[in-house]
Structure formats: C-alpha cells, structure tokens
Symmetry: C2
Subunit: 239 residues, 2 copies
C-alpha cells in the first residue's frame, strides 16, 4: 500500500477492454494520473475498447449539487444502460433520466428521502438500493468483504464486460484528493499500470483520473460513519 490509512472514519458520506495496444506510457507518479495529462490521455486511447468507456463518456454529466455524487453516477449509468426515463416536457417526446427526476421519484424515496440526499448524499447500500428500485440488477460489495486480487479482477472484467457498469464509493483522501466520501463510475482499466479510470462526477472539482487499484482498494475499505460500514462498489446491469 502506498498510502497509510490509519483512521479513515470520515464524517461525511457519499459526496460530502482490456485489449492492450502498446505500452509507451511511463507513469512514475505514485498518485493520480489526471485524464488531462498526456499520460492519462494515452492510457485512455489504449483502453478505449473497454466496453464501458464510450457509453459512460457519452452519457457523462456533472453532479448538480454538492451531495449528488451518487445521484449523478446513477443517472449516468441508467442512461448508459438505456433505462427508459419518465416523460419530461422539457424534452418534448424524448426521454432521458435526469438528476432531478431520479432524486424526486418514488423509487428513490422508497430508499432514502430527497431531503437527506440533498444534505448528506447516500451510503453504499442506499446507492445499491436506489439503482435496484429503478429496475436494475445490482450487486453491492463492501470494501471489507473483498481482497485486493478479487477487487482487481472485478474491475478488470467489469469494465470489459458489456451490459453492466461499476460505481465506486471511496474516500477521497485515500486517493490523494481533498474531500470526504465520494461516488463515481469507473470507465476503464489499464493492465500495464494497474490503474482504473474514475469518471469523477464532480467535474467542477477534479478531472477524471487514473488511480492505482491498490490505492483505490484502500480507499473503499474506509468506514462510512453514517452506516458504520466500509465503502465499496456496485455492479449494475439491466434486468
């Protein structure tokens, strides 16, 4: 482990293809590799055939409130999966899942009240519950329940597999960022550098970034004070 993570008891919850083309990226940095750098861009070009990358980039959007990381991540995944959205007069006859529609609908309310999401965000189990309530098949894995090698396998295979998407709930300081708990989709994995691309939905705060799997694993094994459980990740697919 590159990071020593002794007391990760954060006060805030959520938000508060592996076909390898060539290896000409040399990454010395121990921490994040921003997608805004040449190295980050080259890693994406080499792994753009990961099945999840283009659908997530095509439906990417920033979280519209400070506490909406889980809502924004869910909406991106719902749209990438082609989940049918409710009618929206703003779009005429077209439909698209939006953060406002998802946070305000009965499915979400059956898991967590909008008022609490608006002020505090959501826990990992609430994230899984909200996706499930919106008719998706969902697997929730807490950081405490998975070893490093299995986590790496799930990420590598998950981003390469069509029809499902990964959402990760991690502690920002664990990956070298400021903030607390956060949720975002994972778009790609690079075998050579053993890094996952987090499509950070707080676009106003951090660009997408490649994070070492071991670092990310440590950051999902932190405890979310609101649940008393570790963070983790969700795999979501259409039913």
């Amino acid at each position: 482990m590159r990071f020593a993570l002794p007391f990760f008891l954060a006060a805030s919850i959520g938000c508060a293809g592996t076909e390898h083309v060539a290896s000409h990226v040399h990454v010395d940095e121990p921490g994040l590799v921003s997608l805004a750098t040449e190295a980050g861009r080259t890693l994406l070009a080499q792994n753009l055939d990961d099945a999840d990358a283009i659908p997530l980039l095509s439906h990417f959007e920033s979280q519209r409130y400070g506490s909406y990381c889980g809502i924004a991540s869910s909406v991106i995944v719902m749209n990438a999966l082609g989940r049918e959205a409710p009618p929206n007069p703003a779009l005429g006859t077209f439909r698209y899942n939006t953060q406002e529609s998802v946070v305000g609908d009965a499915e979400t309310a059956s898991v967590a009240p909008a008022e609490r999401i608006n002020t505090q965000g959501m826990t990992l189990d609430e994230l899984g519950g909200i996706l499930r309530a919106h008719s998706l098949d969902v697997t929730v894995v807490h950081g405490a329940d998975i070893e490093l090698d299995s986590f790496r396998t799930q990420i590598r295979e998950g981003v390469a597999r069509e029809g499902d998407f990964l959402l990760v709930n991690y502690f920002r300081p664990g990956v070298g960022q400021q903030g607390g708990g956060h949720i975002s989709p994972i778009a790609a994995y690079d075998e050579e550098t053993d890094r996952a691309l987090i499509l950070d939905v707080a676009q106003y705060r951090y660009p997408p970034a490649w994070v070492e799997i071991e670092t990310l694993w440590s950051a999902i094994r932190t405890t979310d004070d609101s649940s008393g459980l570790t963070r983790g990740f969700v795999v979501a697919s259409a039913r």
Copy 2:
C-alpha cells in the same frame, strides 16, 4: 457531395490531434459513423490526442431542454476553457457554468431573451454573441462564406489547437438525421476518413458521431429561416 441538398430552408433554428496512429478502420458507410460502433470508437482512440477531445469529453453534458443545444454547447465550451462561473449555492464554494445560469444571466439576455431561447433556440450569430458576451474571443463563420477546403482546414487545425473550441450549427437532415437545425461542439478530426466527431448534446436522441467533412460542410450551408442566413460554425477561446 454524397447528399443532394436542394432546398434547405428549415423552419426551425438551433435545436427544434491529428497525429495518426494507424489505419485499421475501414469505413464503408456513406453516412454517420456512430461513436457507439467499433469503427467510431477506433477512430476516437486514434485521434484522442486532438487537443480538444479530452477537455470536451470531460465537461460534456446533455442539453436540458429541447431548445438548449446552443446553451449546452456554450456551457461545455465555457467549462472546458475554464471560464469562471458565478457563485452557485448548490455547489458550496465551488463554481461551474450551468445551462440554467447561462440562459438566465444578463450576458445572454443582452443578446437574446431567455423566453425565445426556451421556445426557439438561437441562430449562429446569437451563439457567437452569447459566447462573446461571456468574455470569450469569438469568430463566427457562415456556411456561405467558406469553401470546402478551408472548412476542412479550420476543423483539422481547430481541434488540434489548444485553447479554443469549435461549435457547429448544422441542419440535421443534411447529415442523415431527423430534426431541424442543431448546434454541438466538434471534438476531433480523422484525416484518413476525412470525418469530424460531433459531440451531439442531445444525448437522449443521438450518440456522438463521425461525419464526413463534405457532408457537414453541406449541412452548414443550409439557410436558417429565422435569420435568413446560412448556418456555420464558431471558434471560441479565452480572452
């Protein structure tokens, strides 16, 4: 020209890196190549070093109303250029340009009233005017005023150049899509297939797509009934 475009007098206005890695994409289709296809994805991987691609993908978002193609495109470009946004209590101390903030601010109102944008969208000159009113340097080029070779050069050099972005105003049927006039940013150019990647901001309607330059050129030379002028494109940079 692949498309015969005899009477492009549309009733609706806006919305109703060239380093080449290898050539293993064979594109037979005369029309669009969707980014959702293997060919489209490979073209992006080969041209991801176009300077404009990653910043636009990182700040991509869908238009929030049927008439907001110009607003959404402007917001994406403003955020990609790092234009400072007004305070937004929803984001705490952070700032991010949003479609709501831009459509409702005094800068936009100095060019076009929100009520008209909400119902009709905007013309090419209004798009340029709104970006200029938001402190960007703007060049507006109407389709009638540019020849095919110059248009190709502007696209090829524009997407490869750092610090500015291209927004194109075209007639959807001219590129083989349903609808009327539309506005979206251009993220990349592929020399081999002579195609530009349009990051379609109506994500609920069409995925991003590679369009042949000659086809796009024809589609920007159509007349916008609201202005009586041809459509075209805008180059915007920070002042």
